[in-house]
């Protein structure tokens, strides 16, 4: 079981290393979207500080959304996906491995960049810390939920837009509790509840979404 996870994660990371532009585009998208707000809304620190956590979360969400289309499409086009479905290893496990690799490649860089972008928007140290932790817990949930949509829209023309329409509503709870943690901390109410809920989302999606995505992949291969 662990050998197939190991194989798939290493394969996807190797592929991404040979084609770094895919990973870089969603990262630059994240940076650019966040840096548009001081220019577009207001350069005033007070305003930026209020909207900062929300802006960073929405940008991270959109950047993740943007990268999800690539989760299965290359394997679909070159026929590797057929071989994955026909492999004696459980498909759900391979889907899970692909999500893990995708998170390491696109989720983790977002989390690492968050403190820098937080400084740009004038967030305080403890706010940045909370925000980074919520993204650390939240981004894998986004990728896992998104994998279902990516599997369903595989091979569909205009699949990217359809993917957004399918998946963005499902991202809302994660977004609410992610940004809620920072405002709750500022209001002096503690952040444990928000972190517990994000943790619960993560555990649930780890357990359930790989099966759903695997089923969706089989349907789109018919």
């Amino acid at each position: 079981m662990f050998s197939v996870i190991n194989l798939m994660v290493r394969r996807d990371i190797l592929l991404a290393m040979r084609r770094p532009q895919d990973v870089m585009t969603s990262l630059f998208f994240f940076i650019i979207v966040v840096s548009l707000f001081p220019l577009g809304v207001s350069p005033e620190m007070e305003i930026l500080r209020t909207i900062g956590p929300g802006v960073i979360w929405v940008a991270a969400l959109l950047a993740t959304m943007l990268s999800l289309g690539r989760l299965f499409s290359a394997d679909h086009q070159d026929g590797t996906l057929e071989q994955m479905i026909l492999s004696p290893q459980p498909l759900a496990l391979m889907v899970l491995s692909k999500c893990v690799a995708h998170w390491l490649l696109t989720g983790i860089p977002l989390v690492i960049l968050t403190p820098l972008l937080g400084l740009l928007l004038g967030l305080a140290g403890d706010e940045i810390q909370t925000l980074t932790l919520t993204l650390l817990l939240g981004t894998p949930v986004l990728i896992l939920i998104g994998s279902i949509g990516a599997a369903l829209t595989l091979g569909v023309r205009g699949g990217g837009v359809l993917l957004s329409l399918l998946i963005l509503p499902l991202f809302v709870p994660v977004l609410i509790f992610g940004t809620g943690a920072v405002s709750s901390m500022n209001a002096g109410m503690g952040v444990e509840a928000h972190f517990s809920l994000l943790g619960a989302f993560l555990v649930l999606s780890l357990l359930l979404t790989p099966w759903a995505s695997a089923a969706a992949l089989k349907i789109s291969m018919e």
């Binding site: 190797l14 592929l15 290359a74 086009q77 057929e82 994955m84 026909l86 492999s87 459980p90 291969m221």
Partner: protein, 204 residues
């Protein structure tokens, strides 16, 4: 033994074939013929379990392949129209990952040996994007030299191959049949393989 019982496949609203029956015993090859669009690929994908038939059964050792799942897929090697070759990986990496994906472990020497036999000996460390169409096909067919699975399902295996590789491939298939394997293949060319060769013609 592979058995097809009263199989009916449709694509969209179009009936491809119905009432199809055949059985394949160990050591036998079934050559599926038919015009373009007569449903050869659909038949092969259905036997693999990639597509669901409209009605009918596919039995492996007397039991439905849908119920067996992983234990059936363990016995199966499918090579379709798409090669499953990654442009970014080298020839050797491609073969190594493809065999590991099908649950088999082979030493580096075995992998290289298979690539040499199929005529890619000098291109082992080349990225697959530098290969021609026929060479990509060879990378994907190299799996046949290594796999221990019983049932081979090959969709147009000869496409883009040159004469010498076709001869090698036919030897590999003949050897597989001798060892009690089964082969289901489609091709528009003549199959010149020693052993029990059955034919099935699908009419559009």
């Amino acid at each position: 033994m592979l058995q097809i019982l009263d199989l009916e496949c449709v694509r969209g609203d179009l009936l491809l074939f119905s009432g199809l029956n055949f059985a394949l015993e160990s050591g036998e090859l079934l050559h599926v013929k038919g015009a373009n669009g007569s449903g050869k690929t659909t038949l092969l994908r259905t036997v693999c379990g990639l597509s669901h038939p409209e009605s009918g059964k596919v039995l492996w050792q007397g039991e439905s392949i849908w119920k067996q799942g992983e234990s059936y897929r363990d016995e199966l090697t499918y090579i379709g129209h798409l090669n499953g070759v990654k442009d970014e990986l080298t020839v050797l990496e491609n073969l190594r990952i493809a065999t590991m994906l099908s649950g088999e472990q082979h030493s580096e020497d075995q992998l290289i040996d298979a690539l040499v036999k199929i005529g890619l000996g000098e291109r082992i460390d080349l990225p697959a994007k530098m290969l021609s169409q026929g060479q990509r096909r060879r990378v994907s067919l190299a799996r046949l030299l290594l796999t221990k699975s019983t049932l081979w399902i090959l969709d147009e295996p000869y496409t883009a191959l040159d004469v010498s590789v076709i001869a090698t491939l036919q030897q590999v298939i003949a050897q597989h049949l001798q060892c009690g394997g089964m082969v289901l293949l489609t091709t528009h060319q003549d199959v010149d393989i020693e052993g029990v060769v059955k034919q099935l013609t699908l009419s559009a």
